[in-house]
């Protein structure tokens, strides 16, 4: 049963990978038109810190599935929440500068891509919270999902942030 669940999750994540590939491709497609706005308004340093938190959460997730200890699960939820807080504060900062999804192509591609990723982090936190409360057996299945969401963020961070400020 565990093997089935893991394979099922892996297949679902295959479809998710294509989904994010298409969204990232759309960002790259409009990159030339939105590069100036990205360079002027994104904050590489602060986002790098929150990115480090999300990467650290993959480590705690791995420990949680290896040891089954709730403390590691709690740590993962916390780190995920810190990442979302970071994303939220960046959104607020951009809104104050009047940059929204409808303001420019940069806003369109940036908010759609990072917003859908943030939604996936939120779903991951909800799944972890369920595991935290019920001590279910599916930790390693949710872990696959969590690793995937982290890897997608690495790709987004590289393309949306590092490439802009190279």
């Amino acid at each position: 049963m565990r093997q089935r669940a893991r394979l099922g999750m892996a297949m679902f994540l295959l479809s998710e990978a294509v989904f994010f590939f298409m969204l990232i491709a759309a960002f790259v497609y409009f990159r030339a038109a939105s590069l100036a706005a990205a360079a002027a308004n994104l904050n590489l340093g602060v986002t790098a810190v929150y990115t480090a938190c999300l990467m650290a959460s993959s480590f705690t997730m791995w420990r949680a599935s290896a040891t089954g200890l709730r403390a590691w699960l709690g740590g993962t939820i916390l780190l995920g929440a810190v990442f979302l807080f970071g994303q939220g504060s960046e959104y607020l900062r951009l809104f104050h500068q009047k940059i929204t999804i409808s303001q420019s192509l940069f806003g369109t591609t940036f908010f759609t891509l990072t917003g859908l990723h943030g939604l996936h982090v939120l779903v991951g936190i909800a799944l972890l919270a369920i595991l935290f409360g019920r001590r279910a057996l599916a930790v390693d299945v949710v872990a696959l999902y969590w690793y995937f969401v982290d890897i997608v963020w690495l790709a987004i961070f590289a393309i949306v942030y590092l490439w802009t400020f190279r």
Binding site: Q3, R4, L7, G8, M11, F12, L14, S15, E16, V18, F19, M22, L23, A26, Y29, F30, A33, I101, S102, S104, L105, G107, T108, T109, F111, T112, L116
Partner: protein, 536 residues
Amino acid sequence: MRTGVSAWLSTVDHKKIAVLYMLTALFFFVVGGLEAMAMRAQLSAPNLKFLSPETYDQIFTMHGTTMIFLVVMPVLVGFGVYLVPLMIGAGDMAFPRLNALGYWLTLGGGFLLYVSFLAGGAPDAGWFSYAPLSEKAYSPHSGMDYWALGLLLLSAGSVIAAVNFVVTIATLRTPGMTIRRLPLFVWITLVNSVLILAALPALNAALVMLLSDRLLQAHFFDPTHGGSPILWQHYFWIFGHPEVYILVLPAFGMISEIIPVFARKPIFGYGFVAASTLAIAFLSFGVWVHHMFAVALGRVFISVFAAASMLIAVPTGVKIFNWAATLVGGSIRFTTAMLFAVAFLLEFTFGGLSGLAFAVVPIDWQLTDTYFVVAHLHYVAFGGIAFALFAGAYYWFPKITGRLLNESLGRWNFWMVVIGFNLTFFVQHILGLMGMPRRVYTYPDLPWWGVLNLISTFGAVILGLGALVFVANLFASLAFGARAGNDPWDAWTLEWAAASPPPPDNFERVPPVRSRRPLWDLKHPESPDWATRGGG
């Protein structure tokens, strides 16, 4: 134990869920068929005003969307959900509750699409909804929003079904059912599921972007703010062309099961059928631009896609030869199922050849957006997919219900559909060559246009009546049909070892599997396949 309606609403049994899928598809087949009839009525003579241009746009958009997403996808998933566990000797799908979720999402998507009629107007930008026509500025009413949301639900349902198929086939095979002994329908369902997992998300991404544009004033496909309508075309067809194969591959799977049984021969070149399926799945991601040759994209770029579009005809042609070679020297029984299977071979080949014409770029430029395209796609979609589905219905109805479909009605069904279909669509090739554009609600009284369109409408009436005979046959045979027994066709795959209809847990005992034809081995202990043909 729940009974009656609540047993169906709460079921997680793969057979009941499959029947729900099939009944849903049947309902929408009638709806989509009536939409086609409305179009043919409008086009039966030049300059008619039976439908307004606005209504006509909604009707052809809903006809295409319905037939693809609410008829063919659900019925193919339904056949898969019904047959895959039985064919591999399993008791159910790997995730029964997920299976039910997939069905209810599909029904919800259908509901969203059709509720749009009550909410200010149905979507009207064609089944591929090109931007910027699909954008808020040009489609201000909510039809397009319902279209995008409905398709998101339908797509989620398909992805769920695909995940379930892969895991089921990977983990629930009965001992001895190795990958080289899988029935070809199961083989093809496996490949097709991976294709769904890789292609549908491209549609989802495009739909999310379209909804962002429409509901949040984003600018992905909006040229007035730097967005790109061509990006929509790319994204839609990156999904859309694999989708064509997603629709036709399960039909190939059915034909690969039916032809051998009624030719009394094992399939010719099992390995080629399986391998060419992989080749089709792979190549299907490299041909999408042939839907966009009329966009100025650069000569080298479109040449690559033109070449790939010709290349994909090769593995498809390989299959045609496999089926034809299976027929050669067989002792053929022309049941209604077999009639439809053989007609499939002819009609689908014809549709494949007219499709190949579009891979030749100058021909595409001449014929794009004409009735030649409509004719081609219906030879593939109806002459191919629907004919295979009719064959599958006649072949597996006895397993699903315990009763045989009536063969006399079956002959009426077959001949009316064959004659009606060819009358309707063959003349549309000529209309297309004469330059008649598709998706326009009427046409001027040019030489021959009126009479050819009248022939097409006349054919559509015969086709529609033939389809009604099929529906009548389903219900009449369900009530009065002859008892089928477990194995009415003297077939070879495991589903025929179960009772008809199978009990909730499918098998009392799964027969041993030592070759590709376990039931042949069981019935012929003197010359089992594993001794005479190798185990496969």
